[in-house]
Symmetry: C3
Subunit: 351 residues, 3 copies
């Protein structure tokens, strides 16, 4: 990638102050940028860096007034932050979609419909009856089971595993080691103390613009015709467990090492911290926020903020925990009161 | 799979009420079943569904008395639940064991003994001196190290990794991304603050009828001749960590994201919740039940029910936690008492 | 491996007592050793075993005085423990570096520099512009992205995934399923409630003598030129999450299922227990020790010992938790005091 400042300004709908012909080949933080790189200034506390930066260009607010001379070309926009993230996204696409063609050996089954501009890395495996959209990138060692469907522009990094019948939307990024569609953890207890495996015959349906972090697991639904569902725009971090028949609403974010138990429904726009556990068969309402390491045992109301294990309201937890840390003092005060009480009682009886 | 109701009734030893010639090709929940599907009714609260279901057949209790007309054929049995799970199991086997033959390229080393009706997916790897029973299914990208033994009817899904010398029993299902036999986390501290890796030379021995969830890891034992042991009928969920030299007793169940530290022995018929941590060198007795997110730091007695971190008796934890949530009130009452006490003391001294 | 006791004594700089010609082919614990094996005695409480052991040789302290006859040959050294770990290490190297040559099919891209005595297992993948040192062992299904560098004597077990631009030092052991360099979990919230993926363009730099457990994930840094850094001698257990831009200092140890959030810096010689969560942008000072399941929300001082969630000083936590377990008794005492107080007040008012 190499663009001039003018080309970038045109892309962002911004106004140029300085040299528009300077060439840009990379993005960087303002305090670390080097010549040939573009940065941005949004938070005023970073303003001092703009007078020293080696960045060839900086994206700034329209109303930015420099208090000292600046060496970089400036691009003036309404919202430098979102312009910079847009540039990052363009750059990422540019990088991510570079690979194309088929490396050998790779395996493809029968009756597959494969779109255009595909990358199929060496040792990738595509089963039978698979449908893959345009511009999909399938890195080495990725396994796509029978009857899987994948939308346009989705990236499956090295060693993604999609069990049979999974459906993945468009513009998704799935990272290495992710498993989609493994059996749910369902076992029917028998009279002799053993368990019979309940076969898991449903599938997983993943929406568009979903990101799934490395080594995360999403189990399939139990019954044929049912699906474990991941809504559009959901972002799931690494090493997360999503059990059978769970549904996760749109634009919900789940941090690393969290586990969602079977059949729980999570609403839209929720934020689930790291190492959170959510029990099964619950309804977590829209906009619920769950603090790291919380254990959720009950359904939640819209906009709840939860913390602790078992989780309660965030503020209430902090109030109680502040006292918990002081419990030795509490017991000391209690003991003192008991002594004084004994003293008073003795006094009273003595009268 | 397509069977008549009569054939299924014969299999289950049940009696038919209605048309025995109807064809069945799938199993489903009673509230969601469609024509051609079979369901069951066990829990009386689901009875209303039987009068509306589109299921072609329903398995019911022998003494079931319909209060309205039913369109489905009925199969009358002693225990509809276990009959249905038996059918599910048959169906699962039917689905799971469909694959057979060798896809290319795949790799196989020297001196291997391979049974009949094997599936070896493309890019599967079998090392030297490996012994594999009959009807074993090895999906693509699965790695089987040197000197591994695998029993009959075991399924290794895509990308299972068995390090050298592992022994896996018969009728097991191992899911994608599972690692069996990686090095235990053992490091000998040196005088200069560094650690020397203690080589891990034991293996892992897995019994029969064991299910292991996706991306779970089971480390090998430290010493040659020792084994990390997973008993018959054990069910392990996704993303679980089983450290070196652990032994897990028969029919114990471990939910997702739990970790068992080195050399701990877990008894038979235990139920370990999700995200549980168990410290090393403990003995967890038979029938112990551990609540989600608990942290076990001590050995347990038979039948214990544990909760909290560090874990204590479940009921005691709940009693204490109920008060924890009320601690601001407790301190308020304490403060009031202190004021009253001061008041009384002042009064006494004034007399 | 088969050596005489004399050869081993020479290697360890020890003195022989007994037969130096006995042949040794394995290491074992003193209570389990068999003929042909060597063991050690360091901790005096294991002394009784030395009189019964079947070990052909035992490494003991120079000043060890036998109180009964011993059948094994003895090797007398200053520090039996470290001599034994040294032997274990030699043995491990011997085992680990047995594999060599190239198995087919395997894949290698363009412009790679590959050292000598390499093992490249079947289905291993090496991208373009990769540099690999001498004596590196690349097991089957391992993926090495473009522009990766790997130092001498490093072992990548089956199915390791190194994203593009990762740098791995020498003498490292990386276990199956490890993902190095996946995207950090960074999403820019947009006005419409969706998230825009912030492309992650940095890399991961791993030092020398680092061990990484199975299915652990280390995300790359966000900006080009930045790195997520793992210092020399770091030991990371299975299923650990290391987020973008984290740095882990030398000789720090992190147990299974722990998660370190973005941009946190962990010092040297820290010990992080299992299932620990550490929030983002913190500084964990050198020699900090964190108990299992703790949740760290604040930066720590050198030598801190932390426990609980949110974590506080270990001893303080235990003091408070001891009272927590007794809270029903505390409330009972409080209630009694309230009753007595009421009684006293009534008495006072009655006078």
């Amino acid at each position: 990638m190499e663009f001039t400042v003018s080309q970038i300004a045109l892309l962002l709908g911004g106004e140029i102050k300085g040299d528009g012909d300077v060439k840009i080949n990379m993005l960087a933080k303002i305090q670390e940028a080097k010549p040939g790189q573009i940065s941005f200034l949004s938070n005023p506390k970073y303003e001092p860096y703009i007078y020293d930066t080696q960045a060839s260009a900086v994206i700034v607010k329209k109303d930015f007034v420099a208090r000292k001379p600046i060496n970089s070309s400036l691009i003036l926009v309404d919202d430098p932050y979102s312009c910079f993230t847009a540039l990052l996204e363009e750059y990422h696409k540019f990088i991510s979609f570079q690979k194309s063609g088929v490396e050998n050996p790779s395996y493809i089954g029968e009756n597959c419909k494969i779109g255009e501009d595909i990358y199929r890395g060496a040792f990738s495996y595509i089963g039978n009856d698979v449908t893959i959209g345009n511009n999909v990138k399938i890195y080495p060692h990725t396994y796509i089971g029978d009857n899987v469907t994948i939308g346009d522009n989705t990236i499956l990094n090295a060693n993604v595993k999609l069990y049979a019948n999974a459906k993945v939307g468009s513009n998704c990024v799935i990272h290495s080691g992710v498993v989609v569609g493994s059996d749910g953890f369902g076992f029917a207890p028998q009279a002799d103390g053993t368990y019979k495996t309940i076969p898991q015959m449903g599938n997983v349906v993943i929406g568009d613009h979903v990101d799934i972090g490395a080594n995360t697991v999403i189990d399939c639904a139990t019954f044929h015709g049912d699906s474990t569902k991941i809504g559009n725009g959901v972002k799931i971090d690494n090493l997360v467990q999503i059990a059978h028949n769970v549904s996760v609403g749109q634009n919900t974010v789940i941090a690393a090492l969290s586990g969602i138990s079977g059949s729980t429904e999570i609403g839209d726009h929720c934020v689930i911290g790291g190492q959170v556990g959510i029990a099964g068969h619950l309804k977590i309402a829209d906009n619920t926020s769950v603090g790291a390491q919380a254990g959720i045992g009950k359904s939640s109301k819209v906009g709840s903020k939860l913390f602790g294990s078992p989780a309660i309201d965030l503020m209430n937890y902090h109030r109680s925990y502040a006292i918990f840390k002081n419990l030795p003092d509490i017991t000391h005060r209690l003991k003192q009161l008991e002594e004084k009480m004994l003293d008073l009682q003795t006094f009273r009886e003595s009268q």
